[in-house]
Amino acid sequence: MGGPTGAYARMAIPQQKPVAAKPNKRQRQRRRTWKDKHFRWVSDGQGGWRIQSYIVRHRHKPKKRHRRGPGPKPAPRGAGAAPVIAPAPAPAFDPRPPGAYQGGFGVPQATRLLARAGFGPAPGQAEQLVSLGLTGAVQSLTRPSGTAVLSGPPPRDDEGKPLAPADAWGHDHLWWLDRMVRGNQPLVERMALVFHDWFATSNANVSRTQQMIDQSNLFRSRCFGSFLDLFEAVTIDPAMLQWLNGNENRKWAPNENYAREMMELFSLGADRGAYSEDDIREAARALTGWRNDWSSQLGSHNFRFEPNWHETGAKTVFGKTGNWGWQDACRLCVEHPLHASFFVEKLWSYFIPTPPSAAVRDQLAQAYVGSGWQILPVLEAILISPDLYEGPPMVKPPVVHLASMLRALGRPVDTEAWAWICEQAGQQLFWPPNVAGWDDTRWLDTSRMRARWLMVTYVLEEISIDAWNEPYSTTETPDEALNRALASWGSPALAPEHRTELLDLARRCESLVVANWQKAPYRAMRQNALLQLIGVSPDLILQ
């Protein structure tokens, strides 16, 4: 027990720190080296490449026609690399409705919008959004056309093979992560994540992972439409029927699991006086009648309504009596006078950490009810709200932190490690902790922070430098070091106090160099340290 097993053992966390191979004093004195300038391609931080020179120490005199690089220019850095465009001036026409955010819409605002309504910008993407203006930017997210296009290299497992999302442990997580990283409809994916948390269903009690994936596709297809439609579809969704025992709710012996959570968690909220224990029991009777078959081959399948298993007598829910069925149960919840305020506050809380004022809440609720419980108008109003741009930051959920780092680096999903690292960080997709979903106020503790550290170490796997075996500059200054590290991260904005600290770190590292042989490896390690600390800095953890 304890350590990772199976495929994960390959990515196991080293239990002991690797010891850098440092030549001993005698070797250092005896070794004669030839310094040689070489050239290589490095990321320019904007999805392209630039040539960098570095010093190589040869142990033998370089021969004639010795290759010094940089070789042919590599292909553009795949995945999230968006076309590089010049920052555009704000559009002349940026109409904003009353009540909307009225301040400037520049790169910081666009970055925040992309972080909360998506998974952060790929290099150049925030600038692109700025050129659309606030309203245009929001609508480019909320009104995508057609189905999502995934561009860049497809996801691979540790052996370089395609994923098996419905069959291999953790591949469902990787499959979704890949959609977050490569997809061109980030808000659809983000809303699917919102509803995965809202109607939190887990593999733990669902017989086939494909049913979980189907449920997430249900969220994708209905995330902007009518909440009542979505609610009804979720109520009889095979994964949900299994998860909350809707498939075992029969007229002879009602099972009230779904009836309780549909009110408490999905539509009305606990402790608001919206319903009684009797309402739950009566709604459970209304929901009776769903069943399925089971076989060892197919697990639970063939979900259907069995009229003979449905309680046909009268039920009284929220004081309304009738021969209610499952659709009535959903409708009665949505028509409940306390539903609209629950809905808008809950949806709001996924995007903005402070609750809306009573006036704004009522306005949103009105728009929601007036539109026939449409999600889109509420969502668009939230995304142009001043609270989103002027209010305090939020902690990124672990998968959002990870996906935004992969997007910034242009790295595809190419390791299975993301499944167990996200699990340790507190968010394995398709495995919410319980039906209430993830607790957004508790993303960080010592265990989960350590997992985020580890996540960053793994994200940097290919960028960080093997200090004792790879050549590195012997002259890089502290400023150059920090700029290089920031460029590798896609040039995120750093808080001034963090920039100051990192520059101080860069200087301290330089002052540790007391011998010639330390110049390059210490600078290489300094670069790795800067890369690591930027990844775990509040600037990248917050959205």
Partner: protein
């Protein structure tokens, strides 16, 4: 690492001063002023220090040259000298069926309400304090400890106007009052009152995320994912690595102008502190055999940590599996309950072997019990009163509140409570942790305090 791989031969040849000298030298702090023949520093106990150095010698033997910073030991030594008590919370997540754990086989309505799920009389050990009750066969380990007078059982614990929501009821239990939306746990408030500003180990969750029970307002607390080690690894070696961690710690110490930034800062600072405190504490051996389960491994690690002298006051761990048994209850419960009870028995035996049993008390709880009448899915729906246990050599070992019987259920056809969980908390605070319950549990004066601790 499987438990069987941890049977390293132990080298306890280090003396106290050798250990402290080497640890101090490695930590670059100079030699401590503790040499043979010197007077003991005030407020510390010699015997405890000696014990500590032997167990730390074990860690050195396993890890060779790894360093054990003094910071890991100083608070622990100070705490051990005070003889502080440790409370371990074990949570049955989902609402365990108390009518299976302590089955009322002598109650005539039991078989009527549970035509499929009732346990047959004689299936498990009888419960000596109430002949109508019987232990679930999977709780045999708990029955053993009860027979030794080390288990105080609450056969029907709860509160007035029970809430049947998992999340609301669990929240009540976690914060120690019937309110919603509070952010600090009852044990978190205790730690806020008595805890140290620099010691995240004082409140330790072993499940990879922090239990809301020990959520504090400002004192540091910790969660770990594994008892086998806690380090932060990056492709950076020394001397650059120390500078990197210095900057990481400074990220944690900067001011914050928003709650979210404050959260990141706090987690950063605590992570770095825990990294230092647990450096070198990785492998451990247990003097007794534990079942080979993750849950047992966590408890084995916890016992070793306590024996190391790590400054733990409160630890939380979740019982294996889930207990929200709406369907097919019998099989799931049998397996999960067995794993839990056998782990707890091994933990108790471990503490006894290490001579720590008088310092540790285990509290087992769940957010509610389940409906006496089974549902149509061979399961049970949410109920009201449930069961809790206080376990340890110092546990009083007497039942608290009687079993109310199934003849008169509450208005929702659920079991009535005969004890209040807040009374249990008040007793644990006052009798075990030596702390005034009034300061922690709102309305504490109104709750009867059962005697939970042996004098």
């Amino acid at each position: 690492m499987s438990p069987s791989h941890r049977n390293h031969s132990c080298c306890s040849g280090y003396t106290r001063s050798q250990l402290l000298r080497s640890a101090a030298a490695e930590a670059g702090k100079g030699l401590p002023a503790i040499e043979a023949g010197m007077p003991e520093p005030a407020g510390t106990g010699l015997s405890r220090r000696k014990f500590l150095s032997q167990s730390a010698g074990l860690a050195l033997a396993i890890y060779g040259a790894s360093k054990i910073p003094l910071s890991a030991f100083e608070p622990g030594i100070a705490q051990a000298a005070q003889g502080d008590k440790i409370l371990v919370s074990v949570f049955f997540d989902g609402g365990i069926d108390s009518l299976s754990v302590l089955a009322p086989v002598g109650d005539s309505r039991y078989a009527q309400l549970r035509p499929n799920l009732a346990l047959p009389p004689g299936a498990g050990a009888g419960f000596s304090e109430d002949p109508s009750l019987q232990w679930h066969p999977s709780a045999a380990a708990l029955a053993t400890l009860h027979g030794e007078g080390k288990v105080s059982a609450f056969p029907a614990i709860g509160y007035d106007h029970p809430d049947q929501s998992h999340f609301t009821s669990r929240h009540y239990w976690e914060i120690g009052e019937l309110q919603v939306g509070h952010r600090t746990g009852w044990l978190g408030r205790y730690l806020d009152a008595v805890g140290d500003n620099e010691n995240p180990l004082q409140g330790l969750s072993l499940d990879g995320s922090l239990s809301p029970m020990i959520a504090t307002a400002d004192k540091p607390v910790a969660a770990i994912d594994s008892v086998d080690g806690y380090d932060l690894w990056a492709r950076v070696g020394n001397p650059i690595e120390s500078e990197m961690f210095r900057s990481f710690a400074r990220f944690g110490a900067l001011p914050a102008d928003s709650p979210a930034l404050g959260q990141v800062r706090r987690a950063t600072a605590q992570t770095d502190k825990l990294r230092q405190d647990l450096a070198g504490v990785g492998g451990f051996t247990s003097p007794v055999a534990y079942p080979e389960t993750r849950f047992s491994h966590k408890l084995a690690g916890l016992a070793a940590y306590i024996d190391f002298g790590l400054p733990i006051r409160v630890a939380t761990v979740r019982a294996p599996g889930g207990y929200d048994t709406h369907a097919d209850q019998a099989g799931d419960l049998e397996e999960n309950l067995r794993e839990t009870c056998e782990g707890i028995l091994a933990f108790q035996r471990d503490l006894e072997a290490r001579g720590l049993a008088d310092r540790v008390l285990v509290e087992m709880w769940s957010e509610f019990g389940r409906r006496p009448e089974e549902n149509g899915s061979l399961g049970t729906d949410h109920g009201a009163a449930g069961c809790a246990f206080v376990i340890g050599s110092k546990a009083k070992g007497e039942m608290v509140g009687e079993f109310p019987g199934l003849a008169s259920l509450d208005g929702d056809e659920n079991l009535r409570a005969t004890s209040d969980f807040r009374g249990m908390y008040c007793s644990l605070l006052e009798q075990w942790l030596d702390f005034d319950a009034e300061a922690i549990i709102p309305g504490a004066a109104g709750f009867a305090r059962p005697t939970l601790v042996k004098p």
